[in-house]
Symmetry: C2
Subunit: 399 residues, 2 copies
Amino acid sequence: MKMMRQAISLEEAQQKIQEITIKSKIANCLLSECLAEILAEDIYAPFSLPAFRRSGYDGYGISAADDHGFPKTFQVVEQIGAGNVYEKTLRPNQAVRIMTGAMVPDGVDKIIMLEKTKPIEKDKVLILESERNSNITPIGEEFKQGELLLAKGSQLNAGGMSLLAAFGYQRCLIKSKPKVAILATGSELLSPGEPIEIGKIYNSNSMLLAGLVKENGGIVSYMGTIEDNREAIEQQFHQLAKEVDVILTTGGVSVGDFDFLAAIAVAQDTCLFNKLAMRPGSPTTAFVFEQAPVLALSGNPGACFTGFYLLVEPLLQRYRGLSSKMRQTKMKLAEAYTKTTDFDRYVRGITINNTIQAVGSDKSSALGNLPVTEGFFKIPAGQTCASDQEVDVCLLPFK
Amino acid sequence: MKMMRQAISLEEAQQKIQEITIKSKIANCLLSECLAEILAEDIYAPFSLPAFRRSGYDGYGISAADDHGFPKTFQVVEQIGAGNVYEKTLRPNQAVRIMTGAMVPDGVDKIIMLEKTKPIEKDKVLILESERNSNITPIGEEFKQGELLLAKGSQLNAGGMSLLAAFGYQRCLIKSKPKVAILATGSELLSPGEPIEIGKIYNSNSMLLAGLVKENGGIVSYMGTIEDNREAIEQQFHQLAKEVDVILTTGGVSVGDFDFLAAIAVAQDTCLFNKLAMRPGSPTTAFVFEQAPVLALSGNPGACFTGFYLLVEPLLQRYRGLSSKMRQTKMKLAEAYTKTTDFDRYVRGITINNTIQAVGSDKSSALGNLPVTEGFFKIPAGQTCASDQEVDVCLLPFK
């Protein structure tokens, strides 16, 4: 099952994935479930806010006609708590006791703060002095009816959710996260929790990809293994293509005799690539199976991790109309990198004082550095890089 | 119910909250549920990794004794897939076909990559040339048995979870997020979804706090309202203090006649403060009710938001042994701030090119700027700030 493979550059591969037609979906969700989701609609103010003239303080409301000649005694005709409505008109020397946030009755033109008053007896108050401001928030001071509250494409945070709640919204339309299936290949794989067996290894890639999908805007909707059997794999893909948006696989893409996945890929009209001119992860393969993009990542953890960020993350973001959250930049290398390779190499690195340096092993199989990797720096094919030399860097998204 | 209040500084208030004794808890969780959780134990490698000599490539394994005189024909005595074990010893001119990741049998000293071989007939292969490297990963190259994998206090990301999975871990101990109860006060409050009523407002603070708690390392385990009745409130606190770690309330802390919460606070021996020398949110109150910290935030959304970040966020982080994720810094003001106040004012701001400027209204009641606020800048009591003047800034955590 050895086959010819034509290596393409990472940039070409990214472009081909960018060109896959995807179907974005929209969901109508309870606002309380929408934290960090992306709005799929513009949302407008259904009424002005405040919707009524609102008292800014606890105090006494008086009319403009009475706003002179202090200190002066007023008759207190009503206590207006927040939420209460007083519909009568004030007569001369009448005041209303009013609380912060309460609706100011018509005919009340100023709120005198409690601190400037002195209760005399039941239903009587001495107002010591006036106020410079009315202490009344006018209707629509913050939002006019029909004004845009949040635009389509905004990410909902606590503040955004509270803004919609303030206008009585209980639900909103959001862009659905892509549903992702994660399939691991390899008869050498044990599941965590199983007893260890000589020659076998625990499957860490499924956990890796599940975490990466969740961290990067996807939903893990299926996890399983791929049998070493071409018909069974195709049958499984056929089922998954109906249920999920994206299929990720690990392993089975090399030139080994059991690498069935590579064979399925080349049999598709829609095979995008089956070799990348990059390390780690040169056998990474991509195709579309009955409309579902399949990204077949290396079974080597370091390569799987790198392939996820460089190829899968931008695809997942696209389902919600977002761009990749990887940050492209240039940084100086803190330590020389002296190994040359045939292909461009993306080395896992950590940043220190705005420089980057390799962290842990750069081997494709290494996984000890995955918890601490902050980004990748690129060593072009055939080159080495001296310390202080500037390199291209892709930083991982902020978490 | 007007009462004397002694205003303390924000720094004093933060210190008092920092001194509340809290009970941290630990949970034993499925690893797959641990994304972004904080490890409560050091985790060590239960075995070396690789646990066996591992083939780095697809190819043919030969003995050191046979590693000369190429090109040379070998008899292929076995096919070793990943996960398989071959226990016999190679004789002269024998080779094993071996896959990437498979266990290298004793007596095999080098893997010749497939590209440097040519199958001749069934069970025979022509090896064209040798390799510089053995292409065998030795036992323990990445981790030695007993080596620390992840330290207590690490935050689990996808990479960390996969590292533990690689060692067969299925569960781990994590620091529990604090359980938080959110209680809104005020008979003026409508729930989102209810029909609007004149004089009333939709409760947006509960949604705000629920989002803020989730964004900042807490679990919302109760949401409700507080009755305007002192005995009922105390009864509710009594119940909640048994069930949750922290109680947050909004509203009811001012000097209004219905502000029962302020009265409950001062009745506690454990009242930490009931007035802050800061705006917005000067009536913010804190006490401990039967071991549960109660942070009674303003009912004004802007003040509630500011109080959460300056007082509650550090408390929530402390339950998991973490420091506040707010970032203290200094920045230049992009635009002059000309209003003076009696107390230090924390103005909601956005950053532009490493400067900060006020965003939206600085009113305590304003909520339009909550979705976009990136931090607070401090205008000291009695001062104004010119543009380009340096101010103290608290930036919100990265999201």
